[in-house]
């Protein structure tokens, strides 16, 4: 595939997009595992949500 005389601009565009979306995905995935870990630690310490105590879903 020949990108012509402006190949640098095309490659830079795709590189920036991949970097920004990749960073967003990494942040969301790492945040999910962090929140799951903290929730697990709190549950191990015996902390329960009020909705769990009353048997109702949290709104």
């Amino acid at each position: 595939m020949n990108l012509g005389p402006h190949a640098d601009f095309i490659i830079a565009s795709y590189a920036v997009t991949v970097f920004v979306i990749g960073s967003l995905i990494a942040w969301i995935v790492l945040d999910y595992s962090a929140q799951r870990r903290i929730l697990g630690n709190l549950e191990d310490q015996g902390v329960t949500r009020r909705s769990r105590r009353t048997g109702k879903d949290e709104r």
């Binding site: 012509g4 095309i10 920004v20 979306i21 942040w27 969301i28 929140q35 929730l39 902390v47 949500r49």
Partner: protein, 246 residues
């Protein structure tokens, strides 16, 4: 089942956990198909290969505006019905919208240099898009820095509603003001001005970006619900510790 029951955070989590893997797989497949189509798409007769930047720039621009639309609806849910899932949806959408707007601005700049001869010009379309990015940063600042999350959410919702005025300004900026940016070539009277050999990859990439948005948005909403559970459990823990000491 009433539709409002679907907005229950616990039920939402169970639905998201089931839907997310399929949504992510569909996103990857559509992007793979779109990239294959881009590689085989012809160059533009005027712009040459730089037209390949369009396959990123245009979907990112659409999504940046659609994301603000999602935040506007969520803001109404937060302010009018005070539904917690609306607030979760608004907060989760903001960083994704900011990222798409950033991509739109950077790729537009990189496309502008070889085609217009400049990276940036302070015309209506580019400036209104930059304003959208700044509005996203403002919403994020309100969500992330407010000491009281409830007050921060209401302030961010008001900013989302006010900022919605900017969306039609972006859309019609190329028609009402002088600008280097080309006018609408897809959604216009008389149909699309783009040849199908370039239009089809563009629409496939737009589909991929839209699927990516919903995948990331649902995943970020799930994180936000878990974060709020952590916060409420920590408050309960602190309350129990304080009661045990007295």
């Amino acid at each position: 089942m009433p539709i409002i029951d679907l907005a229950n955070p616990t039920r939402f989590l169970s639905i998201v956990n089931r839907v997310l893997p399929w949504l992510a797989a569909a996103t990857v497949l559509v992007f793979a198909f779109g990239l294959a189509r881009i590689m085989n798409a012809p160059d533009d007769y005027q712009q040459g290969a730089t037209v390949k930047i369009m396959y990123l720039h245009v979907p990112a621009a659409w999504l940046s505006m659609m994301c603000w639309g999602v935040m506007t609806v969520a803001a109404l849910g937060t302010l009018v019905w005070r539904h917690p899932l609306s607030d979760v949806a608004g907060k989760a959408a903001a960083p994704i919208g900011a990222a798409f707007t950033f991509i739109c601005l950077i790729t537009g700049s990189l496309w502008g240099r070889p085609t217009w001869g400049t990276y940036w010009v302070w015309d209506a379309r580019l400036t209104s898009m930059l304003v959208l990015f700044l509005l996203y940063l403002g919403v994020l600042a309100l969500y992330w820095t407010a000491e009281d999350p409830g007050r921060g959410s209401r302030a961010a919702a008001i900013l989302a509603l006010v900022g919605a005025i900017n969306i039609p300004i972006i859309k019609f900026s190329v028609e009402y003001w002088n600008t280097l940016h080309q006018p609408a070539s897809l959604f216009r009277r008389g149909g699309s001005a783009i040849d199908p050999s370039i239009l089809i990859p563009l629409l496939v990439m737009a589909g991929g970006f839209t699927l990516l948005f919903f995948t990331l948005h649902f995943a970020a909403m799930r994180n936000e619900i878990l974060r709020r559970r952590v916060r409420s459990m920590r408050l309960i823990q602190a309350q129990e510790l304080a009661e045990a000491r007295t």
